[in-house]
């Protein structure tokens, strides 16, 4: 059995392993993930939408060859959706069936493991190994503050008490990655317990590398040009500055159209895959496609 420290002996090794999973991490992000994995501390990732906060958790789970449990947070999420719930309809059905068959049904049978709906937090804690699961709490800022506190309490203890069944303790406490889009300030108690990394928006060379990985059919020249053009677009005051996802979409669109070099015309033809807001289109159109394409060739 291969243990986690053997799989990721150093920051460099982790960086190479992520690379093999098609995730290009810079030294800062690799250090953060490495420390989270080895120090067994939750890692809070923040950054603009589309810089790969969610993807890193997926890549990490793949390279550790372990399960990924993902909990997408939203406003009003409750313990029932995060931890466990009793399968109420199934319990009712069980009672009806027992009545119909004339069988005695003890109450403890109704609250057995069969009737338990396991949600991601419980699944991550129950994960049998051999390596800990990766638990991704996505967009934790969307959940209420009380839910945040509850989750942390639970992860700190790595144990869940279900009144009817008893306590479930994790054999391999999960590796926890949290992401936040900064829609609200997270509680101090949470940030204090976490390692933190702010993922910066990457430079044009890195964007071009990522695009090449994600759109293998694109040419190196086109990816480089598109990355430069996206960087120039981001210098405008846009409501939704194009991110990496837009860069990938854009290059795919250009590749599908058979365009091999950016020009003012081809940029204007494909605005729709880069700018997704009416106001932004107006701002960019005022500058013109030629101005954007110029960045690529200048």
């Amino acid at each position: 059995m291969v243990t986690v420290p053997e799989l990721v002996p150093s920051v460099g090794a982790l960086q190479r392993a992520l690379d093999a999973e098609d995730y290009l991490a810079d030294e800062g992000l690799a250090t953060a993930v490495f420390l989270a994995v080895r120090m067994r501390q939750p890692l809070l990732l923040e950054g603009e939408p589309g810089v790969g906060k969610t993807q890193i958790a997926k890549a990490l789970a793949r390279l550790l060859n372990t399960e990924l449990f993902r909990l997408q947070c939203y406003e009003g999420i409750s313990a029932g959706e995060a931890l466990y719930e009793w399968n109420y309809p199934r319990q009712l059905l069980g009672i009806r069936l027992a009545e119909a068959r004339g069988v005695e049904l003890a109450e403890t049978e109704l609250f057995g493991r069969d009737y338990l709906l396991r949600r991601p937090l419980l699944q991550a804690i129950e994960h049998p190994g051999p390596r800990p699961a990766v638990l991704l709490l996505d967009e934790i800022d969307r959940a209420d503050a009380e839910f945040e506190a509850f989750t942390f309490e639970l992860l700190a203890e790595a144990a869940v008490t279900i009144p009817e069944l008893g306590t479930v303790t994790a054999e391999h406490p999960p590796i926890v990655i949290l992401t936040s889009n900064r829609t609200r300030d997270l509680h101090d108690a949470l940030t204090r317990r976490c390692l933190y990394h702010w993922i910066d928006y990457p430079g044009p060379e890195r964007i071009a590398q990522i695009v090449r990985r994600r759109v293998p059919s694109s040419s190196q020249a086109l990816a480089t040009e598109a990355a430069a053009a996206i960087t120039r677009l981001r210098s405008l005051d846009l409501v939704k500055p194009p991110g990496i996802a837009e860069a990938i979409d854009w290059v795919s669109a250009l590749t599908v159209l058979g365009i091999e070099q950016l020009s003012g015309r081809s940029v204007e033809q494909t605005w729709g895959s880069v700018l997704k807001n009416r106001d932004d289109l107006d701002v960019a159109a005022a500058r013109g496609g030629a101005w954007v394409a110029e960045a690529a060739h200048g």
């Binding site: 420290p5 002996p9 150093s10 920051v11 030294e27 800062g28 250090t31 953060a32 490495f34 420390l35 080895r38 120090m39 501390q41 809070l44 923040e46 009003g76 999420i77 409750s78 959706e81 109420y88 309809p89 009712l92 900064r182 300030d185 101090d188 940030t191 204090r192 976490c194 390692l195 933190y196 990394h197 702010w198 409501v239 106001d279």
Partner: protein, 409 residues
């Protein structure tokens, strides 16, 4: 396994403790357990070069993006002076080593216009509006030094708007445009589904849902009152005496009108509604349109008449009811204080909160004794200065309702 640090000269625990002290002095919230965490991190990631050390420290110590700039400044002040002693040898301006930064102090900003008053030195540095400052309790000078390193804009925060030159004012307006004003909420009439079982049972929905399952109420539906933010109404005095402040206040009005859907009015001799003009996304265009619409800029002030116009034409019809009303004015008015008193009393009966922003409040020895101001004050829930960027945080807090009510004499 990772072996022990490759540079025996750096003892991890001592380094962690020293560095966390330096960060704490710079006003970053650093708890003692972080230092222990860094010591462990350095065991796993041996600090063989600056980058490795930097990332390990940053991942452990920083927990908010806003702190990154300050962290970077402290890091380079501490380590770039220390790890490479050759660079700083014989250079009196070199960044200080650990523990010695108490003696350094940034040069005071020199581009202040002659005759401008000193910014008050013992006010704490500006917390960002909106971010509740848990880190505001460290002492002054050494912290200022590192803050000045962190951002060249910081010195603008404490300066009164009246003392800024046009270029600084432009930079400041960009900062002000980012301030988000939010009002307290009220319960709306409408209910909406709630996932929490502590809320009231929505009997109608539960029964409807039970019909699908043969009359057994399998899922219980709950509902709660929807919360909606109260309306925000901003009234800005644009008379001659307020001129140094109007540009910044209008930027604030513009941001609120376009972002927080506030209602914006300006007045000097008469009242003009500018909500539609200011609700454009481009601030310069919005201000240009507003300037073309309101015709009495920099005139005299008719405070009571303007408030009466506001109540008669807009407020009574619903605009002011249950709203948070913010008045930006120095209270120097031509009308009779008795009239101001009467109109403020009417406004008080309509509004949820009244916040008065008077930039003259910041002046030493200022007392609200001028006729109009003295008459209006008893009706206000909060009285703040708003004369500088830092003071605008108080305005935002007063609007949110976090600021304690003023003591009425």
């Amino acid at each position: 396994m990772a072996d022990r640090g490759l540079q025996p000269s750096i003892e991890a625990a001592a380094l962690a403790a020293g560095f966390s002290t330096a960060l704490h002095r710079a006003g970053l919230p650093v708890s003692p357990d972080r230092a222990a965490r860094l010591a462990e991190a350095l065991r796993l990631v041996p600090p063989t070069d600056r980058a490795a050390l930097y990332w390990a420290c940053r991942v452990v110590f920083v927990s908010q993006q806003q702190h990154l700039a300050r962290f970077d400044a402290v890091f380079s002040a501490v380590f770039d002076g220390r790890l490479d002693p050759a660079e700083s040898r014989g250079d009196p301006n070199a960044p200080p080593a650990v523990g010695s930064e108490t003696r350094t102090k940034a040069a005071p900003p020199t581009n202040r216009p002659a005759g401008a008053p000193e910014p008050q030195p013992d006010r704490p540095p500006a917390p960002l509006p909106g971010a509740d400052s848990a880190d505001g309790d460290t002492d002054g000078p050494e912290r200022d030094a590192i803050l000045a390193l962190a951002s060249s804009d910081e010195h603008l925060h404490e300066m009164a708007f009246a003392d800024l030159d046009p270029e600084e004012l432009d930079r400041l307006r960009q900062l002000v445009a980012r301030i988000v004003l939010s009002t307290p909420t009220r319960s709306s009439r409408r209910r909406h589904p709630s996932p929490h079982s502590r809320d009231r049972l929505d009997v109608a929905r539960t029964v409807r849902a039970a019909q699908r399952t043969g009359g057994d109420p399998i899922t219980l539906h709950h509902a709660r009152r929807r919360q909606t933010p109260r309306r925000l109404v901003l009234l800005c005095d644009v008379s001659g005496s307020m001129e140094p402040y109007t540009r910044v206040f209008l930027t604030l009005l513009q941001g609120a009108a376009s972002g927080a859907r506030a209602e914006a009015f300006v007045f000097s001799t008469h009242l003009t509604r500018l909500t539609r003009q200011l609700a454009l996304r481009d601030p310069d265009q919005a201000l240009a349109q507003a300037a073309a619409t309101a015709t009495d800029w920099a005139g005299g002030t008719r405070l009571a008449a303007s408030i009466r116009r506001f109540i008669d034409d807009f407020g009574r019809r619903g605009l002011a009811r249950g709203a948070v009303i913010v008045l930006f004015s120095d209270g120097w008015a031509q009308d009779d204080p008795a009239d101001v008193d009467a109109q403020m009393a009417r406004l008080r009966r309509l509004a949820h909160r009244i916040v008065w922003v008077n930039p003259r409040k910041a002046a030493a020895g200022y007392r609200p004794l001028v006729g109009g101001m003295a008459a209006a004050l008893p009706y206000c829930d909060a009285f703040v200065s708003g004369h500088s960027y830092a003071a605008l945080a108080d305005v935002a807090a007063a609007i949110r309702g976090d600021l304690h009510p003023i003591d009425h004499p």
